[in-house]
């Protein structure tokens, strides 16, 4: 079990460019979550999939951010026209979603820097 895998570990983009972040959840986990972590805001929920279906995207900035889960083995978070304020560590987590969070597992994150 390699855990939750996120790629790339680091990404530097120029302002206005697009960034795509990848997440491979733990095999068998039906719930996949995206969070964003910054020094100022701490950990913020972005969006959540269950069995590949989008369930809650209430934390996603309505413009420029989108997330997909085309199959059970990976999810992507896409940021269009990146801005300096998008700089953060983007974290993916997965769980079995069996009513408890006791197996909630985070990836190492993608550190995005927009210059």
């Amino acid at each position: 079990n390699a855990g939750v895998i996120q790629t790339p570990r680091h990404k530097v983009t120029g302002k206005g460019q697009e960034a795509t972040l990848w997440c491979e959840p733990i095999s068998g986990h039906s719930a996949v979550f995206w969070y964003r972590q910054t020094i100022v805001q701490g950990l913020e929920f972005l969006t959540y999939f269950r069995n590949q279906a989008p369930i809650d995207d209430s934390g996603m900035p309505k413009e420029r951010f989108s997330a997909q889960m085309p199959n059970q083995s990976h999810s992507t978070l896409k940021i269009q026209s990146t801005q300096p304020q998008d700089s953060a560590v983007y974290l993916c987590a997965s769980s079995s979603g069996q009513g408890t969070n006791s197996d909630y597992t985070f990836g190492s994150g993608t550190r995005l820097l927009v210059i």
Binding site: G42, F45, Y48, L91, G107, G109
Partner: protein, 109 residues
């Protein structure tokens, strides 16, 4: 409004001292979890404790749901315990976690 409040924001201990970390919630929850993170490291789940007292090694968590609070006790602290401890609660039935801003623990020799 910050839904999860943690205190203290930072704590410095001498090795072998005990630590008490506090967490309170602005709304009722039935899922409380404690995580640990080293600088630049991934979040690691320490204890899942929706109610009562749970122990794992030198860590003991006590959650009193009706009072909307949870605590994490670290006994006989070690230098390797240094890092940030985050409390999280689940809101509703979504399994989505909402995090506090953390307690930064530094254990000195």
């Amino acid at each position: 409004e910050q839904q999860v409040q943690q205190s203290p924001a930072s704590l410095v201990l001498q090795e072998a001292e005990n630590a008490e970390l506090q967490c309170s919630f602005s709304i009722f929850t039935n899922q409380v979890q404690w995580f640990y993170q080293r600088p630049g490291g991934r979040l690691v789940s320490l204890l899942y404790n929706p109610s009562g007292t749970k122990q794992s090694g030198r860590l003991t968590s006590t959650t009193v749901i009706k009072e909307r609070r949870s605590s994490l006790h670290i006994s006989s602290s070690q230098i390797t315990d240094s890092g940030t401890y985050l409390c999280a609660m689940e809101r509703g039935n979504y399994n989505v976690l909402y995090f506090g801003s953390g307690t930064k623990l530094t254990v000195e020799p």
